[in-house]
């Protein structure tokens, strides 16, 4: 987990610079990424250093709802040593469950 802050900082600064989006703040992006990493470590029983962020798409459009979401793809190494991938979708803007500003992510793959 010690590399986690560094990974998030790098990710946030990269995306904030390269692909600015009026509806997703760098803070929200960082929070969403942190949430997905935590979810993977929790579910797969791995440490954060086994996780690599493959891509972040803040303009992913869900065709069923036409909603714009944040898509995060990751690869990781399972405790058994197998290479795997995971994909998360995050409600990017004003998800605001219970008046919280935190974006919420769920794993779809």
């Amino acid at each position: 987990m010690k590399f986690l802050p560094l990974v998030i900082m790098m990710l946030v600064s990269t995306v904030a610079t390269a692909a600015p989006h009026e509806e997703i703040t760098p803070l929200q992006l960082g929070q969403a990424t942190l949430e997905t990493v935590k979810s993977l470590t929790r579910k797969e029983k791995i440490t954060a250093d086994k996780i690599q962020i493959l891509s972040v798409n803040p303009e992913f459009v869900d065709t069923s709802s036409n909603e714009e979401l944040l898509e995060i793809k990751m690869s990781f190494v399972s405790p058994a040593g197998a290479a795997k991938e995971a994909r998360f979708l995050c409600h990017a803007v004003d998800h605001a469950v219970f008046e919280s500003a935190l974006p919420h992510c769920h794993r779809v793959q």
């Binding site: 929790r42 579910k43 469950v97 219970f98 769920h106 794993r107």
Partner: protein, 214 residues
């Protein structure tokens, strides 16, 4: 003369209000009068049943709707304690209509010593019985579970814990739908909650604000 007419009309209006139909008051009165209570919450039986109530719990088979709406229209926590006979089942209906339809349903059934745990909504069912923490539950003993239903997400976000946990967060959950590619089957479209029992006893059911606030 005009004053007298006004006084008579006002009196008639007041009489009409005081003696008129007031569904809210009737519901409150019904809740106050009923003996069909679990954990202090009054229920209405909505299907012919063999249910018996002893003032704190319900036992048998039948369907009951709470005479109050869910704690929060966005999301709620439910804490339930129940005993199941073999092949018995309890369905907790959340965010449903007042007939307990069109909701987000959590089913806990017993098959021998194991539990079958499913989520149903929008005509779809997801079976989480084989999930590590759930498969380890002994269905012969009293089952005590706590859960969050965040119904303002689509599909609803569902988090489940053993009620014996010291803390209720995403790290201690038995099941967190956000971690599962299957997620949940949908979300409810009402504000009522209630129970379907089949050869079961519900010892306690409380409804309060969610444990996890996002």
């Amino acid at each position: 003369m005009l004053k007298i007419v006004l006084i008579v009309l006002s009196s008639l209006a007041l009489l009409a209000c005081s003696g008129g139909n007031n569904p809210d008051r009737q519901l409150q009165q019904k809740a106050a009068d009923t003996k069909q209570i679990i954990s202090g919450i009054a229920y209405d039986v909505i299907q012919p049943s063999t249910l018996t109530f002893d003032g704190t719990k319900a036992s048998g088979s039948g369907k009951i709707v709470a005479l109050t709406s869910v704690n929060n229209p966005k999301g709620s926590a439910f804490k339930i304690a129940l005993d199941l006979e073999d092949n018995g089942e309890v369905i907790l209906h959340t965010y449903s209509d007042n007939k307990l339809k069109n909701g987000f349903d959590i089913s806990i059934a017993r098959q021998g010593g194991k539990i079958k745990f499913t989520l149903t909504s929008a005509g779809k069912t997801i079976d989480y019985s084989e999930l590590e923490g759930l498969a380890a539950i002994n269905a012969v003993e009293t089952i005590e579970l706590s859960m969050d239903v965040h119904n303002n997400e689509s599909p609803a976000h569902f988090i489940l814990w053993k009620s014996s946990e010291a803390t209720f967060d995403e790290n201690t959950a038995l099941l967190n739908s956000a971690d599962e590619p299957q997620a949940t089957p949908g979300k409810g479209s009402g504000l009522f909650f209630g129970l379907t029992l089949k050869d079961a006893s519900v010892i306690g059911l409380t409804n309060h604000k969610p444990y996890v606030s996002h």
